[in-house]
């Protein structure tokens, strides 16, 4: 029961925060709403028994990404300009709603192969062995590391003053 309450609360928060991100005039506030949204998602991860993921979500998204975004907003002085919609506001909205309808319909119409087993509880260890263990995902992990390195160098190169 508690799980359900948590789900609904977090859902409401997440959706509201997301709506705020796309509709707020003030970009800075939008960024703050985004952080809220991220946090709500982290909570949702918890309700899905993905505690390690929830932690990462908070660390990376709330900690790193959100900070980066705010930093960018400051650097580009976007706050004064504000957020406006472009010429295609209405059609895009319509498309998005259509998409929503179709996707929800698809979700509802599909019979998912749901299993009623209980979830693993201590996911951190399991994840660790899954990622680094025998027959696991060690190569993608290494590639991710490389990717991050490239991203760092790329970002530095891009923003470096000539």
């Amino acid at each position: 029961m508690g799980l359900e309450i948590a789900f609904w609360v977090l859902t409401v928060v997440a959706v509201a925060a997301a709506l705020a991100v796309v509709s707020l005039h003030n970009i800075f506030r939008a960024a703050l709403a985004l952080i809220l949204c991220f946090l709500a998602v982290a909570g949702l991860f918890v309700t899905l028994s993905a505690d390690f993921l929830a932690a990462i979500q908070v660390l990376i998204y709330v900690g790193a990404v959100a900070v980066l975004i705010i930093l960018a907003i400051m650097l580009t002085r976007e706050v004064q300009r504000g957020s406006f919609s472009n010429r295609f506001n209405a059609p895009v909205l319509l498309s998005a709603i259509l998409f929503l309808g179709v996707a929800v319909f698809a979700v509802m119409a599909t019979s998912w192969p749901v299993v009623t087993l209980p979830p693993l509880e201590a996911t951190t260890t399991a994840l660790g062995s899954e990622l680094f263990g025998e027959g696991g995902y060690i190569l993608p992990v290494e590639i991710s590391a490389l990717l991050l390195l490239v991203v760092i160098i790329g970002a530095i190169t891009l923003v470096r003053e000539k």
């Binding site: 472009n86 295609f88 895009v92 498309s95 998005a96 259509l98 998409f99 179709v102 698809a106």
Partner: protein, 628 residues
């Protein structure tokens, strides 16, 4: 048919001048030895003459008057075509060989004097050799296509020789005109060749003769083929209505005119009809066409000859007129009559031109109004010209008489109307020839330069030709020529010589001829009648004649320039650049415009693209849902 051996010398008859041409063009010209060029050319034609004479005697001693040599493959494609390069060695060939080599030899000797000092001396003799070679090849060819090859080469050589002084626009124009007008005729010839080939699968002349005789080739097809061939002859021989090139061809050097008018170019047409005569024989329509065109041309050209003031032009029209006689002879009589006139005509017409050239050499002009009184200054030229004139008029017993009499006699039998035309032409011929004689040689000299008799190298060929102009006709006095070429009765020389006068027709033609001469005397020598007053009296006629019936205007200005070039072809060009190419460009422009317009859909706004991507995905999902 007996194979002549050795056959090498026979081939040499036309190869010798051809070799001379190549040698002069490739070897002598770079050395710049003009004298050598003329000697090589003359020696070559002399060799051909000797070989032709040898061939003549071989032929005379052979019973069928026909020999043969092994032929060579020329154009052979599987079973589709088999064109042999062979030689026909019959009496017709050998007569033509003699005419061509003799006239060519004399003309070339004469040219040594006439062309002295000309910068194109080498080129002249090289082309003369080629011209002679082509004509010799033409008369010997055994296949119609090979004959056509030489036929075209003859045309080409006359193009190059008429346009010899290419820096004169008139000469260049005349050359072009000659080639194109004769090409019109050649079109008929070529069409006839195509029909013959598609009907029979062969172009061998002897075989075609056989097919025509056997009746395999007959009816309308044969008539059309014959008329097509005749069209070729009309072009080459300057018959009405394709005569317009011949007078203009006077722009070439005078010896060239002599050769063209006597032995080569124009003779080729008459020869062609004679060569293909077995085809004509089986089509009365074709024969009638030949005779009619011949008769009409004879009088038509003679009328124009009466008013020309340029001595060479008068002679040119007289050639057309005489060629008309030959065609008439072929049309009403047969090979022998036409060819006999060609044979005689070759000598006296060559002589007339050479004499005219001699006069020109002395006075520097061809305009008879600026001549006169040359009788005393140039006695040799005068004498030879007079002989030739009497011969062409047909005065007994000169050469022209014998052949012209035969034509008149045979035409009276079959086509009386054409006979009257021919008879009037006799009168006209006498008039215009003696108009030249009196205007040029009689009276007082009206020019500015100091005329003189020509050098010996020019006079001697003229004298030789004069002898031939008197005596060439006598070969048939005994009927020998007829027998040689075909069939006929023989009789003694004396019987023939004087017997000809026993016929009343002979006297009639003599009276007409004398009448013409007398009229010319009355107007131009004795001046009992004023030429000026006659001209004014008959001014419209004079105008018509001196403008050559406006044929040149009709062809050049109205048909070619006015209608074809400026209207039709210009229209086509406009259509090509605006219509066809314009359509292409318009299609290209349309594509560009469509692109310009439709690229606006590509706003460059990624977000719009994103929206369409979403809509696309939705469409795919829905499609998948509803279909599957």
């Amino acid at each position: 048919m007996e194979v002549i051996s050795p056959s090498g010398p026979v081939w040499l008859i036309f190869l010798l001048p051809l070799i001379a041409f190549a040698v002069i063009f490739l070897l002598i010209k770079p050395l710049n030895k003009p004298k050598l060029a003329s000697f090589i050319s003359i020696i070559a034609v002399l060799g051909s003459l000797a070989l032709s004479t040898w061939l003549l005697f071989s032929l005379l001693s052979s019973p069928e008057h026909e020999l043969t040599v092994p032929s060579l493959n020329w154009l052979v494609v599987g079973g589709a075509i088999n064109i042999q390069f062979g030689l026909i060695l019959d009496s017709l060939t050998v007569v033509m060989l003699m005419v061509v080599t003799v006239v060519s030899l004399l003309v070339q000797i004469y040219s040594q004097g006439y062309m002295r000092g000309d910068p194109g001396y080498h080129r002249y003799f090289a082309l003369m050799s080629l011209f002679t070679a082509s004509m010799l090849g033409l008369v010997m060819a055994s296949d119609l296509l090979v004959l056509f090859v030489f036929w075209e080469l003859v045309g080409l050589c006359s193009y190059l020789l008429i346009g010899f002084w290419f820096q004169r626009p008139a000469a260049a124009n005349a050359a072009k005109k000659a080639f194109i007008v004769t090409r019109f005729g050649d079109l008929g010839f070529l069409a006839a060749i195509l029909v013959l080939f598609s009907q029979t699968g062969t172009l061998d002349i002897a075989q075609l003769h056989g097919l025509a005789a056997a009746g395999v080739l007959g009816g309308a097809v044969l008539t059309w083929v014959a008329i097509g061939i005749f069209l070729g002859a009309v072009g080459k021989s300057g018959q009405f209505p394709l005569h317009v090139w011949l007078p203009d061809a006077m722009e070439g050097p005078t010896p060239v005119s002599a050769l063209i008018h006597a032995a080569t170019m124009v003779a080729a047409g008459v020869f062609l009809v004679a060569r293909m005569y077995p085809l004509f024989e089986h089509s009365p329509t074709a024969l009638l066409t030949v005779a009619t065109i011949g008769g009409v041309t004879a009088i038509f050209a003679a009328t124009m000859a009466m008013v020309m003031t340029d001595i060479k032009r008068v002679l040119a029209y007289s050639t057309i007129s005489q060629l008309g006689y030959m065609m008439l002879g072929l049309g009403v009589g047969g090979i022998t009559i036409g060819i006999f006139h060609l044979f005689n005509h070759a000598f006296f017409k060559a002589l007339l031109f050479l004499s005219a050239g001699s006069v020109n050499h002395a006075t520097g002009t061809f305009d008879m109004r600026r001549m006169g009184g040359l009788k005393r200054i140039m006695p040799w030229t005068y004498a030879t010209f007079l002989v030739a004139s009497l011969s062409i008029v047909g005065i007994w017993p000169l050469a022209g008489f014998w052949s012209k009499e035969e034509i008149l006699a045979t035409s009276l039998e079959s086509q009386p109307l054409l006979f009257y035309l021919a008879l009037i032409t006799v009168f006209l011929t006498a008039f215009y020839m003696f108009r030249i004689v009196f205007l040029t040689f009689g009276g007082q000299y009206r020019g500015d330069t100091k005329p003189h008799e020509s050098s010996r190298v020019m006079v001697i060929p003229m004298v030789v030709l004069a002898v031939l102009a008197v005596g060439s006709g006598w070969v048939n006095v005994t009927g020998g020529f007829d027998q040689f070429l075909g069939h006929g009765e023989g009789h003694s020389f004396a019987q023939g010589f004087f017997g000809a006068l026993a016929h009343p027709l002979a006297w009639l033609s003599q009276v007409f001829a004398a009448g013409g001469i007398f009229l010319a005397y009355a107007i131009y020598s004795a001046r009992w009648l004023s030429a000026e007053r006659i001209r004014r009296r008959f001014f419209p006629v004079y105008k018509l004649l001196s403008n050559k019936y406006w044929f040149d205007e009709l062809y050049e200005n109205i048909l070619v320039r006015g209608i074809l070039l400026n209207r039709f072809f210009a229209g086509l060009k406009f259509f090509d650049s605006r219509g066809v190419d314009g359509a292409v460009n318009r299609i290209a422009d349309t594509v560009v415009t469509v692109g310009q317009t439709s690229r606006k859909v590509q706003t460059g706004q990624l977000q719009l693209y994103g929206m369409f991507i979403v809509l696309g995905i939705l469409a795919i999902i829905l499609a998948m849902y509803f279909t599957g």
